[in-house]
């Protein structure tokens, strides 16, 4: 057994660290505030790309970290497992929120695209250009699961192997999902460009 494996022993319900190891495989829970600080932007940016509205994204991020905070002392696993768990609950929470949002707001794609783009461009939390706003607008027309794969691949360039282990889906299915999402976005943006230049 490696030295980093036997880091804690149980004394009743208390975990007692036997040594301090900084290699990321420690089973000793780190300080929650520091851990949340290190991961908050990742969670919030995924939520923002999925929902597009800061207030909604902050609600989702808060719900995710409250869940993590409550499970903090009982979590069995190392830092990599803790991060994988955080990513999984973030994915589930953002997809759920995006589904609810879609149900509330059924509207034609071009109206959604227009509304979403102009909403972003007038938002204080967004300083991208019109093209980027249009891209987010086009993303918002995708079904939530496809949208999640697209944002994880396109913006974060995350490897399929990581996404597959996080979602329990095959790499092939994720590649197909990304391909479909990309084609849809290309079609929307092309139509947009055609309308603009003709």
């Amino acid at each position: 057994m490696s030295s980093s494996r036997r880091l804690v022993k149980r004394m009743g319900t208390q975990r007692v660290p036997l040594e301090n190891v900084q290699d990321g495989s420690s089973l000793t829970p780190p300080d929650f505030a520091a851990w949340m600080r290190a991961h908050y932007r990742m969670v919030l940016s995924q939520s923002l790309r999925m929902l597009g509205v800061m207030a909604d994204a902050e609600d989702v991020a808060q719900a995710v970290f409250v869940k993590a905070w409550r499970a903090w002392n009982g979590f069995e696993g190392n830092e990599a497992q803790r991060r994988a768990w955080l990513l999984r609950i973030t994915r589930n929470a953002t997809i759920d929120a995006a589904r609810k949002r879609n149900l509330r707001r059924m509207m034609p794609i071009d109206v959604l695209l227009e509304e979403r783009s102009s909403q972003l461009l007038s938002s204080a939390d967004f300083d991208g250009d019109a093209v980027l706003a249009r891209l987010h607008g086009a993303m918002s027309t995708l079904p939530p699961k496809q949208r999640w794969v697209f944002q994880a691949r396109y913006f974060d360039d995350r490897p399929y192997v990581d996404l597959a282990s996080e979602t329990g889906t095959s790499e092939g299915a994720l590649k197909a999902s990304y391909h479909h999402a990309r084609k849809k976005i290309e079609a929307i943006l092309k139509k947009d460009a055609d309308a603009l230049f003709h």
């Binding site: 600080r37 908050y40 932007r41 919030l44 991020a61 905070w69 009982g74 939390d125 974060d156 360039d157």
Partner: protein
Amino acid sequence: MMSQSPSTGPNPKEDGFRIAEAAVDRAVADVMSTPLGGRMGELRPVLSMAASIALILGLGLALSGVLRPKPCVTFGCQLEALSDEELSGMMELMEEESLLELDEEDWATLY
């Protein structure tokens, strides 16, 4: 770049969103002010669900007891349960019996 996160791959792209440091601080403070609740906190949702199920079952049983019709065994109850036709038929029978001029003692041997 908006966020350099542990989940990003080798070529992350700009997404245009900005997250202020103050927003991160506020979020950390908000989450950490949430009561942990300990073991009882974890059990609370389960306990409240169990209590709700018990309440629903109890109400169901109580209502089924109230709604179940009591058996009609007394003469008064059976009389009330008769329809108009049955009652008039019974009255006719009683009139016929009176025509027979049966005495009270004869009732015991009538049936």
